[in-house]
Symmetry: C2
Subunit: 397 residues, 2 copies
């Protein structure tokens, strides 16, 4: 019986599978299917268009935003759910830039997830007003923050190594230099305690299909600092961010606070599934999850390094400096990961040589860790990875 056994029971975990890839896609909560059925059959099917009122679909983005807000230190009414993380990054950068006129630099690091960089660059290329996306090494971010920087945009947890940025220190540095701070919490929300209000972050975005288990393509979220939200001009000024969407005015007037970051019609079925998934966090303290996560990742590093000398730890050794994942480098990491998957141990691979393993104490146990570590060591020790079927690259890796 592990600490979170009752939570583990809330998930469907296929038999024979050790799942350490919840940092890519969380497993399915058992209630998700029934929640989707209910939303479809009982609401869409029976209420038809009236579901927007009767089933309160219209307020799902804010209601789910508040549920996530509790996990990331965001006060009620400061977070909304919708769109994809890419879109939410765009909204945050576009809004932040206008709040710092005259400053031309968006600062990020090369450990950021590529789509964040792509979206920012795409925006800056549209603006064509001398803006620059400056991408430095993660360790060089702090020193690169100067008076030219309008916005610092970082993902807290490096998707490859799990390396953790110090949100408090970097946000303070950004503010001291007069810049605004955007945090991408894709690998943080649901994985470790985040204190958006405490660190005074200006914007935060994240996805809900990783540690929040919202399902494939679950919607993203965006947070705007409450005292800033009413100053924000939404670049993506969609009708559901309008003060009165159903007045059908020809002119846009932004809604109150973060509600203006809503854009189009919310994906109700996908949101219903996310709603069910968030039940797994009810009554859970993120610091308990963090402590359990560190125990699992420390155990994994210990057991892998004890049994296998051919891999190199790619994650920070200090657990306080890494998120809820552990990555090892191995030259034939792709093939080794395929061999692991063939044995039912699911992690994933990031080029050129990183094997990633995510730990989610809500459903991962010490047994999972032992099985994964033993399998990895055996695959490498025996050269089991060195087979043609493990070397053929798939579309999604």
């Amino acid at each position: 019986m592990t600490q979170f056994q009752s939570r583990r029971d809330m998930f469907h975990l296929p038999s024979g599978i050790t799942y350490l890839d919840g940092n890519s896609l969380g497993p399915m909560p058992k209630d998700a299917v029934d929640q989707a059925r209910q939303t479809m059959a009982d609401e869409w099917g029976e209420m038809l268009i009236m579901g927007w009122n009767k089933a309160d679909w219209m307020n799902l983005p804010g209601r789910l935003g508040d549920r996530i807000g509790r996990l990331i230190g965001a006060p009620s009414g400061s977070t909304v759910v919708g769109d994809t993380l890419s879109i939410k990054v765009y909204q945050a950068v576009a809004s932040a830039l206008e709040l710092r006129p005259g400053r031309k630099v968006v600062l990020s690091d090369n450990g950021n997830f590529p789509t964040d960089l792509y979206m920012a660059k795409g925006l800056l290329d549209s603006l064509d007003q001398g803006y620059e996306l400056k991408v430095v090494d993660p360790e060089a971010v702090s020193d690169a923050i100067d008076a030219s920087v309008a916005v610092v945009m970082l993902t807290q947890v490096d998707y490859r190594t799990g390396r953790l940025h110090d949100m408090q220190a970097i946000t303070r540095k950004a503010h001291d230099a007069g810049a605004l701070m955007i945090w991408d919490l894709a690998h943080s929300a649901g994985a470790l305690p985040v204190d958006l209000e405490g660190c005074e972050a200006d914007f935060a975005v994240g996805c809900t299909y990783k540690y929040l288990n919202g399902g494939p393509g679950a919607p993203a979220f965006i947070y705007v600092r409450p005292d800033l939200a009413d100053q924000v001009r939404p670049a993506l000024s969609g009708w559901l961010g309008h003060e009165a969407p159903f007045a059908f005015d020809l002119d846009y007037r932004p809604g109150e606070g973060v509600s203006r970051m809503r854009v189009g019609t919310p994906p109700v079925i996908q949101m219903a599934v996310l709603d069910a998934a968030l039940d797994a966090f009810d009554g859970v303290d993120m610091s308990d999850i963090r402590a359990a996560s560190i125990a699992l990742s420390e155990q994994f590093i210990r057991e892998v390094e004890a049994g296998c000398s051919d891999v190199e730890l790619a994650s920070p050794r200090d657990p306080e400096a890494r998120g809820s994942q552990v990555s090892f480098r191995f030259g034939e990491g792709y093939a080794a990961m395929q061999a692991l998957i063939a044995r039912g141990v699911i992690g994933d691979f990031r080029a050129p040589d990183i094997m990633r393993f995510g730990f989610c104490p809500l459903y991962n146990t010490a047994d999972d860790v032992s099985q994964a570590a033993a399998a990895l060591c055996e695959i490498i020790a025996t050269g089991e990875w060195d087979q043609p079927q493990f070397k053929t690259r798939k579309a999604v890796t």
Copy 2:
């Protein structure tokens, strides 16, 4: 037995309800629940992260795009599904503007759905380079197309009146003036034949929760003229529009053709539901749907006008000049619509005085039309609408 009886049987239509609001939200296809269950339980639940390959989730946006493409005259490979209609409008306008450097006007009409105008204006305000959103009366669009216009952006079917723009004529006029043409097909796709290729439209966008019955918040679609697509720079340059998303390059390289209009991770569950919904169109010729739709709307106008002199037709009387809806003006239209809904006849209301009725021959019959017309006439003749409970405005109307 009506022409489309076997199609009608594919939908869940609540007993006692006459549903004439499929132009807002199509009813639930019976297979949708099982499709969602299968995608969740059998794919997400069992395949976990491997679903992206094994269940081919990654190609849903293009596959569904092609299914919709068949209904709107778009060749295979020219349409992708994703995001919301608002986002797709933004993408189209942003891309089109860059293809017409030096031109500063985006031309639209005041019959366009407001979010199209909001999104375009939001973009132009970001660009801040002398751009103008020019909004004229629908009848004045053609004459307003001149050499200053970069982009003409119109919704084919007016969401209030059903008035239909001539896609062929306006697109030709735009091209003659050197402008690009964006069509919003929100009220067209699945409702009437559209020939994007034939009319040489440059961009088209639309939603899938109206006549395509994809469910509340179903994703949108975007079409780009094939010979134009590779010239387009995506302003919303997300990782799934990248040539090689899983190379995780720091620099963005647009994918081939319309695939570059993909942005973030696709909402797989919502897309699976849409996939099931599109089955209702398999083997159906849009011209047969159009003929049946005209028969229904002509019947409705005839019966309402025969039974009730207090309402005024707001839709074009010529069926060739209107989409698949009929609107009547009535000073107390809001209350009258609430009284209709209380009787189980579902249409909707658009301020200030428009009662809308949508006709979808896949599930609507001549009996539906007779019942709705009779109920409307009786409600108005008897003053049944004049009760307090029908006059209180709801959040979504």
